[in-house]
């Protein structure tokens, strides 16, 4: 990937709050025109990174650049970036229309035509006060106004949280259309991994202030698999267990289910050498990848019964 292809680049970024390292030598790269899913457990530092990226927070060390320039206090660059936070803010007395006028004054590229067009999709009365709208509707307004600025980079923190299924689909569709038509770059942080799986080109998993995994979604999916295997006599041979890079294993009856790292063909070949009765290799969902990757780092799923 050349620098020309890179839209967002973070290197060795650190940020502490009262001695607590929220970002710890974080590296991250987002390609131009891609949708990058930033995922991680609560408290991993996603929002801190996003606010640092937007120039809201000042980093303690390292650097973050968008299109090769630092964002902090860079007004021309920020004209091209839209940030929609999870915790939205609208001026108390402002209606949707008034907020749109405010955006139009702040962002030179604000397009009233798009505003009118999207109005027919979101179907929100523009005279209504933003603060009086439901959380989901506020999300729609923020997204609506953000798209109207025709940004080159859109940074979204939990963008569809609170939206109904129809609006979720609409939102993603509009987003992907902008990516496809204008080459907009999207950095999206969400816990809804099922939906991210459908839209992301790349994912980055954050844990303890670092990006611990950053790959294209296809690569991630090609590297980790769910193996369902059964042997005569029940138990998996020890030699096979040693040969495979097993992240997690469970057994139900005579069928053993393992999460295995490696390419599908290689795993099949190794297993075949031990003549299993059953050997199925299945793809993992992003959610499973997330759980098993972080499980290896001590952030494990517990079967808790209360």
């Amino acid at each position: 990937m050349t620098d020309y292809d890179v839209m967002i680049k973070a290197r060795n970024v650190t940020k502490s709050f009262d001695g607590f390292k929220a970002l710890d030598a974080l590296d991250l790269t987002v390609r131009k025109g891609s949708v990058y899913g930033l995922i991680g457990p609560n408290g991993a530092g996603k929002t801190t990174f996003i606010k640092s990226l937007m120039g809201i927070y000042r980093t303690d060390g390292g650097n973050i650049s968008v299109m090769g320039e630092g964002v902090y206090e860079n007004t021309p660059l920020k004209q091209k970036i839209i940030y929609i936070s999870d915790d939205l803010f609208f001026f108390t007395t402002y209606s949707v229309k008034e907020m749109a006028k405010y955006y139009a004054e702040v962002y030179k590229s604000f397009d009233w035509e798009i505003f009118e067009k999207l109005g027919s999709i979101f179907k929100i009365d523009v005279k209504r006060k933003c603060r009086r709208l439901s959380k989901g509707m506020q999300k729609q307004v923020a997204f609506w106004l953000g798209i109207c600025t025709k940004p080159e980079v859109m940074v979204l923190d939990e963008p569809v949280d609170g939206l109904d299924p129809v609006m979720r689909r609409n939102t993603w569709a509009i987003l992907l259309q902008e990516v496809a038509e204008r080459g907009m770059t999207v950095l999206v942080s969400s816990h809804n991994l099922r939906e991210l799986e459908d839209v992301c080109d790349n994912v980055g998993i954050m844990f303890n202030g670092k990006v611990v995994l950053e790959k294209s979604l296809d690569d991630v999916k090609g590297e980790i698999h769910k193996l369902q295997i059964a042997f005569e006599g029940g138990a998996m041979p020890d030699e096979l267990a040693k040969e495979l890079n097993i992240l997690h294993s469970s057994k139900f009856g005579s069928v053993q289910t393992c999460i295995v790292k490696g390419d599908a063909e290689g795993i099949k070949k190794v297993c075949g050498a031990h003549s299993p009765l059953i050997c199925d290799i299945l793809p993992l969902t992003l959610e499973e990848i997330f759980i098993y990757e972080l499980g290896g780092m001590g952030y494990e799923f517990e079967n808790i019964l209360i």
Binding site: T75, K78, T93, V106
Partner: protein, 687 residues
């Protein structure tokens, strides 16, 4: 770079005005309700148009200047709002300046409109707009300073309520600090009087006349400084510190110790007031610790004690250091007595003399002079003594006082029976000043203080009549216990009177001076009202002053002049034959504030005409009497009432004398006992 777009963001300014337009609207409404109708009222009620009493004199401007920044900058104290504002493409400087600009527009608009209306009224009724200009200037200064102070407070805090409290704190803290420091030093540092400059008067410019002077330049300077400091703070502020009480980590410790020190010393003063126990170390700690812990918890946003012990120890050490410094006079302040060789002059003020001679100083011409300046002008004349002999005498008095009083002062065992005080201002040759103030019992210092009071320099310095400045006497009045009313000595030769007074003052001895001080205008006295031109700080002020002289036996020349004058005005005295009796009450020993009941050691009713006449004659010439053969010089208080029917107050004539026992004429003295009882004053009724 386009400076206009760098400094101002149109969207921010418009959104501020759109959101907070109601603030200037309320401001305007209040002006319309409370300020402007006063003028109409004045005219309607026939009081006439008095523009000087029609304004709020900046109060509303101050209030709105105080509140508005809290609303404008409240977004800094909410996570989502601060992310929204700073996620937008604007520089921090631009955002800040735009907020300030919109805030000031909203503040100034009502002031300007109010000023225009007042100006129009001024033009119509008085033909000028001077007051309107002064009004706008005052409101502008108050509003801007309050606005910048609250802005500063909002920036250093992460919480709007805390921001307002800080702002209030910044406004009252200087006054608090000066007042409490003065209170603490005067009760713990021997010789400390008060800060020589009127710091509080300098800090707080009150009302229109004070604001519209050169002094307000320092407010303008402060506004400019605050503006640039706020820009800097806004640029470096960590926006993630919303919700913190103090948004800047290095300031957290300053906040904690400031709160602890303020509350600690407040606790000390309250404790001292209640118990009369001066415990500068121990009394500071309880409230100081409580405040320290509270501030610590606020900083940590948690009810935690973990880590606070270290700060309590530091605080204790700080207070102990202050206590030790003061208790052992580590700075040498208390024991410092300059040597004559160091001195250019000494300006001594003994307030006994001041209270007798300077009490009616007022300005009647020239520029208005305010209370704080008034104090300085109490002594506009160079009262310094320069000759080595007098300076040595004063230094000797100083040393004497130090030696006798300081040990008692340090042991908090002061003599409450003081009846005199002295302020010494040493003017050193190097241009510096040393000021000390002491209270003492005058009679304890007879040996060392007498030469000073009898010194010519002292008299020159302390009697305005002697200061060489030409006086223009306006009128002279004379009072005597048996005069029906005090009378104006209209035709008396004023030059002769002035000369006579000067000669009498020159011959005052220490004893007669003390009598003069202690007489409290009882017996016979004259009042001279005059004007004189005083040069002060490059300007000439015309003063109107009244001097009272109790005509004790030292005022022989003056008394002779008065006697001659009164010989031709004998009809002004009461005629004892018009009265039926005389009631004498002396030496009050009991007084009840609630019931007004008084009891006297001596009470006598005289019905005999001859005795009545004797009392009358004794009163008429009482000031010149002394019986040197009697040693008893205890001050005695005698109330004499000439009554017409013995019951009714109608037509009574009352006289009062307060003199040493041996100076009370025998015709009155014979009714008194030789010793008087202790006087007690009650706030409740006698059981």
């Amino acid at each position: 770079m386009n400076l206009k777009t760098y400094l101002f963001d149109k969207a921010t300014i418009k959104s501020d005005i759109k959101r907070f337009w109601w603030v200037p609207a309320i401001f305007m409404l209040l002006l319309a309700l409370f300020v402007l109708p006063r003028a109409v009222y004045s005219i309607d009620t026939g009081m006439g148009f008095d523009i000087n009493h029609m304004s709020d004199e900046g109060f509303f401007a101050l209030m709105f200047g105080f509140f508005l920044p809290g609303m404008i900058f409240s977004y800094l104290h909410k996570g989502n709002a601060v992310s929204f504002v700073h996620g937008m493409p604007s520089k921090r400087t631009t955002i800040f300046i735009s907020h300030i600009f919109s805030g000031l527009i909203m503040l100034y608009l009502p002031i300007i409109i109010g000023g225009i209306v007042i100006g129009a009224e001024g033009l119509y009724f008085e033909g000028h707009i001077h007051y309107a200009l002064k009004y706008m200037y005052t409101c502008g200064i108050y509003a801007t300073l309050a606005f910048m102070t609250t802005t500063f407070a909002m920036l250093i805090s992460g919480n709007t309520v805390a921001g307002y409290l800080f702002s209030l704190g910044f406004i009252i803290l200087p006054g608090f600090a000066v007042t409490f420091t003065e209170a603490i030093l005067s009760t713990n540092v021997f010789g400390f009087l008060r800060f020589e400059k009127d710091i509080i008067g300098f800090i707080y410019l009150t009302f229109i006349d004070e604001v519209c002077t050169w002094k307000s330049l320092w407010y303008i300077a402060l506004i400019i400084i605050l503006f640039f400091v706020c820009i800097w703070l806004y640029r470096i502020r960590r926006l993630e510190n919303y919700d913190e009480i103090v948004a800047f980590n290095p300031l957290k410790i300053v906040f904690m110790y400031t709160v602890a020190i303020c509350f600690g010393y407040f606790g000390y003063v309250i404790f001292y007031d209640i118990t009369d126990i001066n415990a500068l170390f121990l009394a500071v700690l309880p409230l100081g610790f409580a405040a320290l812990i509270a501030a610590y918890m606020l900083n940590k946003k948690s009810f935690t004690f973990k880590g606070v012990l270290k700060h309590m120890i530091i605080f204790t050490a700080l207070i102990a250091a202050v206590k030790i410094t003061i208790a052992y006079d580590l700075t040498g302040y208390e024991r410092r007595v300059p040597d004559v060789s160091e001195l250019a002059s000494i300006s001594p003020y003994d307030e006994d003399a001041d209270s007798t001679y300077y009490q009616y100083y007022k300005v009647n011409k020239g520029e208005a002079v305010y209370a704080n300046k008034g104090y300085l002008l109490m002594h506009p004349i160079d009262v310094s003594v320069k000759d080595e002999k007098t300076m040595s005498e004063l230094i000797s008095i100083h040393k004497n006082i130090l030696e006798r009083e300081r040990p008692m002062f340090k042991a908090h065992d002061e003599n409450d029976n003081w009846d005199s005080n002295i302020k010494l201002v040493y003017n050193l040759k190097d241009g510096k000043h040393i000021t000390r103030f002491y209270r003492f019992k005058l009679s304890d210092y007879d040996d060392c203080i007498a030469p000073y009071y009898e010194n010519e320099q002292y008299k020159l310095a302390h009697y305005p009549l002697m200061n060489g400045v030409k006086k223009s006497i306006k009128y002279v009045t004379y009072d005597n216990p048996v005069l029906a009313n005090s009378i104006e000595l209209a035709n008396i030769d004023r030059d002769k009177l002035e000369e006579a007074l000067k000669r009498d003052i020159a011959s005052l001895t220490y004893d007669t001076f003390k009598e003069e001080i202690n007489s409290y205008n009882s017996g016979e006295y004259i009042t001279i009202n005059y004007t004189e031109d005083i040069d002060y700080e490059g300007r000439t002020y015309t003063y109107n002053n009244s001097l009272d002289f109790t005509l004790n036996r030292e005022f022989k020349n003056t008394y002779a002049l008065i006697s001659d004058y009164m010989a031709d005005h004998a009809g002004k005295y009461i005629d004892p034959d018009d009265f039926r009796g005389v009631y004498i009450a002396a030496d009050p020993y009991y007084e009840d504030y609630e019931t007004g009941e008084e009891r006297y050691e001596t009470e006598a009713n005289i019905m005999n005409k001859g005795e009545m006449r004797a009392v009358f004659d004794a009163l008429r010439t009482n000031s010149q009497y002394i019986d040197e053969s009697i040693d008893n010089t205890e001050m005695r208080e005698v109330y004499i009432t000439f009554t017409r029917d013995g019951e009714s107050q109608y037509g009574q004539h009352k006289a009062h004398i307060f003199k040493p026992y041996n100076q009370i004429p025998p015709e009155i003295r014979k009714y008194l006992k030789e010793t008087k009882p202790e006087k007690t004053v009650h706030t409740g009724t006698l059981g």
